[in-house]
């Protein structure tokens, strides 16, 4: 195994569902030892979400769990139990980072908040991910992905201008929070490496979304203009929209060489002064109408091919089911076949970036409590008898 960038870091991961697990998946895939701590018998709720092979539920086969917990070690521990909490603190002593995404206040109730964990390990870094952060009037609100996308300003900007705002698909707000947490943790590690000091990090899913509005807030402040939804179109670039080719959808867009674009789509009309100026986005309907005959008489594959020959930023609107056979992903060996003892061999998305010296190494997600012996024995020296007793009492 090649060396990895984060080898030697130990992360205790109490997080569940998506935001926290995506954060710790990144840390684990790039080399940190991530110990995922799950409730005995039950595990992370994502174990019950699916999808499941043959649609038959099984806590060891949930797609969501398998996807987001790669490269981690799995242990079980019940914090509601006093000896569970003592064991946890002994683990904390050996850890660099704790990640959790319970509702604000839960860790305090368990006596496992940052202040108290610091008594055990003064250099600890702890990251808490919550929907609205650890302070403020909405701190205790009930969150979900769509609520975070709504309050974070993203939804207002997505969809058709004359219809209701639209959320981004799947759980994008949660992933944004996970990514923010992962970057913040490595910044804290950097500071600790030079100063020896740990710290507490408060990540809000809501604010993670509000951070990527790309100029919407400053535009409002600069001119008072509230940006609205633009459907498939880009706000300023024209054309930049999704159109139906002869067989399916394509993304149509021009490079700076407008004359080349006009020639490619065989539309001399586009060379009229009004349409060749960069201010043509005001006449988007006209521009798109002029392009449409060419687009609808070609297949998406042809448009992609011809467009790239002309060096135009055109693209195919692909479904996830097509990514599998895509020549670019294939040439770069992007998707990874990973075998799992319960769920079998499946194709997983690969690493989000490639490091020349320390490439990611993605291994399967753990079974519930799979590494209890290894971790409890190796890290805090519990004996087989002690483990058996803890297991009997459902502490692990």
């Amino acid at each position: 195994m090649a060396e990895r960038a984060l080898t030697g870091l130990t992360v205790l991961d109490l997080s569940q569902n998506i935001s926290g697990p995506y954060c710790t998946k990144l840390l684990a895939d790039y080399g940190a030892t991530v110990i995922k701590v799950e409730k005995p018998m039950v595990g992370d709720p994502s174990r019950r979400v699916g999808p499941f092979p043959d649609d038959s539920p099984d806590i060891e086969k949930s797609g969501l769990f398998l996807l987001l917990n790669t490269s981690k070690k799995g242990i079980t521990l019940d914090f509601e139990n006093e000896s569970g909490r003592d064991i946890f603190k002994r683990l904390v002593k050996q850890a660099d980072v704790v990640v959790e995404n319970y509702k604000p206040g839960e860790m305090q109730k368990l006596g496992l908040d940052y202040e108290r964990l610091c008594e055990t390990n003064p250099a600890l870094i702890m990251a808490s991910i919550s929907y609205f952060g650890q302070t403020g009037p909405c701190r205790d609100w009930n969150g979900s992905d769509i609520v975070a996308q709504a309050m974070g300003g993203l939804m207002h900007l997505t969809g058709e201008p004359d219809r209701e705002p639209l959320k981004l698909p799947l759980s994008q707000a949660e992933y944004q929070a996970g990514l923010n947490a992962a970057v913040a943790i490595l910044c804290a590690i950097c500071f600790r490496d030079t100063s020896g000091e740990g710290q507490y990090i408060d990540i809000s899913v809501h604010e993670a979304v509000a951070s990527i509005l790309e100029g919407a807030v400053s535009t409002y402040s600069y001119s008072g203009r509230i940006l609205n939804r633009t459907g498939a179109r880009h706000r300023y670039k024209c054309p930049s929209t999704i159109m139906k080719a002869s067989d399916r959808y394509v993304h149509m867009e021009a490079s700076a060489y407008w004359d080349h674009f006009a020639a490619m789509v065989e539309s001399p009309e586009l060379m009229q002064p009004r349409l060749s100026s960069v201010m043509r986005y005001r006449h988007a309907d006209k521009v798109e109408k002029a392009i449409y005959p060419w687009v609808e008489s070609h297949t998406a594959d042809d448009i992609f091919c011809i467009g790239q020959e002309w060096r135009m930023p055109v693209a195919k609107v692909m479904g996830v089911e097509e990514l599998d056979g895509d020549p670019q992903y294939e040439a770069r060996n992007y998707f990874q076949h990973i075998s799992h003892p319960a769920a079998g061999a499946l194709r997983y998305p690969g690493a989000p970036f490639r490091m020349s010296e320390t490439p990611a190494e993605v291994t399967r997600s753990p079974l519930l409590g799979e590494h209890n012996y290894e971790i409890y024995r190796g890290m805090i020296g519990l004996s087989r008898d002690e483990l058996a007793m803890l297991k009997e009492r459902n502490v692990i």
Partner: protein
Amino acid sequence: MLSEAVKALSGVRIIDLSQIFAGPYATKLLADMGAEVIRIECASRSGRGGALPRLRPGGDFGASFPNGDTGEHSYNRFAYYNEVNRNKCAITIDLSKPRGVEIFKRLIRISDVVVENFSPRVMRNFGLDYTVLKGINPKIIMISISAYGQDGPYRDYVAYGEGIEAMSGISKVTSYRNGPPLKPGVAYADAAAGLHAAFAIMAALRYRRIKGVGQYIDLSMREALTPLLGEAIIDYAMTRRTPKPTGNRHQRMSPHGCYRTRGEDKWIAIAISSDRAWRALCEAMGYPRWSQDERFAGVSGRISHQDELDKHLNEWTAIQDNIELAKVLQSHGIKAGAVLNAADMVNDPHLKQREFFEKVEHPEAGRHIIPSISWKMSRTPGRIERPAPCFGEHNQYVFGKLLGMNAKDIEELAREGITAEAPLPYTDI
């Protein structure tokens, strides 16, 4: 140059050749944490748009300038640039000239990280690919952000964020129920790439602290966006189901959606995640007769009859204020939130109390509100110490103080056209 506050990344110097949003977003995150980020710009590639004539362009584009006025120096007054480039320095170097390349190499000697998001052949054409930079500074970390990656058949293909979104699978499911594909309302491929890039840089810096070696990072924007669609990918891998556009609905929650409220373009998002939450919603609504229909008692019934549910719910929400209604629903334990636009957000008491926005004074654009640091760190919170740089603002600091050039040398750079006064003007307006 750096002030006294304790910073997570003090002492880290990043050379930033990136443009538009993906790269600049990555370096924004690190500049906020205290890294010294030096943007390299030139007259033909400033990342600020070309110099616009003084005008008041209409539409959303004009709205990106203070009061819709491009001013004398449009390139110093562009909201998008000024938001994402706060806390950074900017200098001008023309890398297509040998003397420019030479100065750039001197800068590499005293830097830790280089960020670029040109298409893969550009750095090579400048004679500045990783092998060259590594020869100058063996510990340098270089990250290249490109659409499709540095190798493979699409390597030289042209794509911007929207094309990458289309090719990754996200556009197809960014859609109303059974509707055509749409665009995520923000540059989502760029945001995903920028965050992963910041993580990659920090991981490489950590490895360098331990082992003393730098490395090269190849980040394809498409590959960085794909993992965020993992749930759909694994679903296809397991069951061969292809994801259908579900709009604002949810596989396991119902009702789940966006409902019209009082006022123009005002909406509320509601997610009912359990039967208990449904009963709480009925209570909040005052148990209207339709809500007591047995078909709605369980989640599977609600999912199969959501069209009908949505109609009733929309009637109930339509006459209420979205922000007040969200408070009421939350007090019943329901997941709900108003759909906020930029103005609502700036006035949101929660974001206010958390100091999520900050007013920043820019010498040419005036005093404006921008989102502050993306997360809260107790020991090294980070802060906005300076506004986005004006074009070439830090030439003196970088050439003079960091590279030790004297005033005469710096003047000569200007004469030779290595540095520039202003970006080239836009010609086709």
